[in-house]
Amino acid sequence: MNSNLKYKTDKVIKAKKSRKNNHILKNWWIHLIMLTYSLFCIIPLILVISESFSSDKAIAIKGFSLFPVGFTLNAYKTIFNRPDQIIHSYMITIIVTAIGTIIGVTFTSMLAYVISRKDYPLANKTSFYVFFTMLISGGMVPWYILISKTLGLNNTIYALIIPYLIIPWHVMLMRGFFSDIPTSLIESAKIDGASEYTIFFRIVAPITKSGLATIGLFTMLLFWNDYYLSLMFIENDNLVSLQFLLYRIMSNINFLNSALAIHSGVTSSAEIPTDSARMAMCVLAAGPMLFIFPFFQKYFTKGVTVGAVKG
């Protein structure tokens, strides 16, 4: 018996040792694969950045490359010479994202909180009411008719905000966060005479901060990266958001030329560094967020996980 135990302990120690050895042995090829994959994630971004610093002449001869060819700041200079368009687009995107996120998260979490309350008689019915919209939809056509014709939101900033205020999936995700709140907490607040509004805004919301942050970031990303609503409802040049600006530059290079040429007073569009300016626009539009969002990665990871486990 004793010796058997000793044998087993020996084996555990050996196994642990071999696991450690294994780690060192195994690790190099795991790191090799992961580093290669990481490079694949980064290189395309570097490519775009280096193009934005290349001169168009050099690009025309050598093609795009991983390092800037004929390094120049011309593209950025041209854009910053009269940056009206890009600043305006930033404003539109920031306004839409800020308002959309604040209202969207408030409404989403209110609804999610109510359906997470097991004592609420309509909780299950409301829950199904939300869930059902994820199963079937009327499609793009009636949705388009509703927003543009019936509500008349065409070419207004509301068309960029309202359609995304409540995402059923976010409601379900948020419900997962709320269902972790102990019922006793709500009960005791009720006994103290707190109204449901007080309970929600003063007690429940503060303790689900990480949930709110998660939903908030998903909503922010949705608004920030959206160009679909612009594509659908915006023809007005005054309401071109960042992504829509990029889309228009992409689909029609003349748009870039005219946007830059008119403002910078250059008469011939031949003087505009087209290829590099296009990529420079892309860097200026996407860059800042790329540096901000990874800092909040923790919340995304959390949201992803809660969604997967409780979805």
Partner: protein, 305 residues
């Protein structure tokens, strides 16, 4: 009497009802009212007449959609490409998650950050990146091909390569997200299982097949089910942007969503657009129900409803 009691209960919970009201009303307007669109293709819709006054036309719009071959093409493209998306993200996602799970904590953070990076880019930005690879004259890919003596290609005119290009792009953007989901499942596994397995002399592969995979099976099933449920819905941003809406690529990249969009905003053919939309909604709904039914049969606790 019963109604009275219910009413009393409702009065008691009226504050909760009011809290839910903005969301409920929103969904009613933007998700429930548009459901009338499911019968829209049976009408010859005119903007000025509105839904009620437009005349009924029976199955005409559907006949048109199915007779000219468009329906078959967009169905095939939607299903085929989406299926590749799902499989690629599932298999590679699990693979990457298993790899991350093997390295020590400080590296995990680094890899997580880097591979999550592309997820934050919009599809418009990804289309810029793709263009810098595939541009006819200056594209990176053609430059490399030329170095190896292969003649350059006009990628935006070659439909046969595009399913692959789209799968690579989608995987590139979303693999980090997918991997993190499975990784979250993996770190939830009790380490004692692995220690016990090592005691019995299990190899690395055996541990993966007999412990890791079975224990994250619920997550795998849910993710698979969720994505199969959406298989009839193409990601409009992806299909529309990456292809730059190049008509030469329609044979292999036109999906239901891009088709509906062009019919609606391009040619203004409401009949055709709504017919395709209804077709998508109904088949999509049936797919979700079937997928859920299958999962319920296999393992009841993993089903969605």
């Amino acid at each position: 009497m019963k109604i009275k009691k219910k009413f009393k209960e409702f009065i008691k919970y009226r504050q909760l009802f009011i809290l839910s009201l903005p969301g409920v009303l929103f969904l009613f307007v933007f998700n429930y009212i548009p459901l009338y669109g499911l019968v829209l293709p049976f009408k010859d819709y005119k903007y000025d007449l509105g839904f009620w006054k437009s005349p009924w036309v029976g199955f005409n719009n559907f006949k048109f959609l199915f007779n000219n071959g468009a329906a078959w093409k967009i169905t095939k493209n939607t299903l085929l490409i989406n299926f590749c998306f799902i499989v690629a993200l599932l298999v590679l996602g699990i693979g990457v998650a298993l790899l991350i799970n093997e390295v020590t904590k400080k590296y995990v953070k680094f890899y997580q950050t880097v591979i999550f990076f592309p997820y934050f880019l919009s599809w418009v930005v990804v289309s810029f990146i793709l263009l810098s690879f595939l541009d006819m004259d200056k594209g990176y890919l053609n430059t490399i091909l030329m170095k190896f003596g292969v003649s350059s290609k006009m990628w935006y005119n070659e439909p046969k390569y595009w399913p692959l290009i789209l799968v690579i792009s989608n995987t590139w953007k979303n693999l980090g997200y997918s991997a993190i989901i499975y990784y979250a499942g993996l770190i939830g596994i009790n380490q004692e299982y692995y220690e016990a397995a090592e005691l019995d002399g299990a190899s690395g592969w055996q541990k993966i097949w007999n412990i890791s995979i079975p224990l994250i099976r619920p997550i795998i099933v849910i993710m698979f089910l969720l994505s199969i449920g959406k298989i009839f819905y193409g990601n409009f941003d992806l299909f529309y942007n990456l292809t730059r809406d190049s008509s030469a690529l329609y044979p292999t990249t036109d999906v239901i969503d891009t088709f509906v969009f062009r019919a609606l905003r391009g040619s203004g053919d409401i009949g055709m657009a709504s017919a395709a939309g209804t077709y998508q909604a109904v088949v999509g709904f049936v797919i979700v129900i079937i997928a859920n039914f299958v999962v319920k049969k296999l393992s009841a606790e993993d089903s969605l409803f």
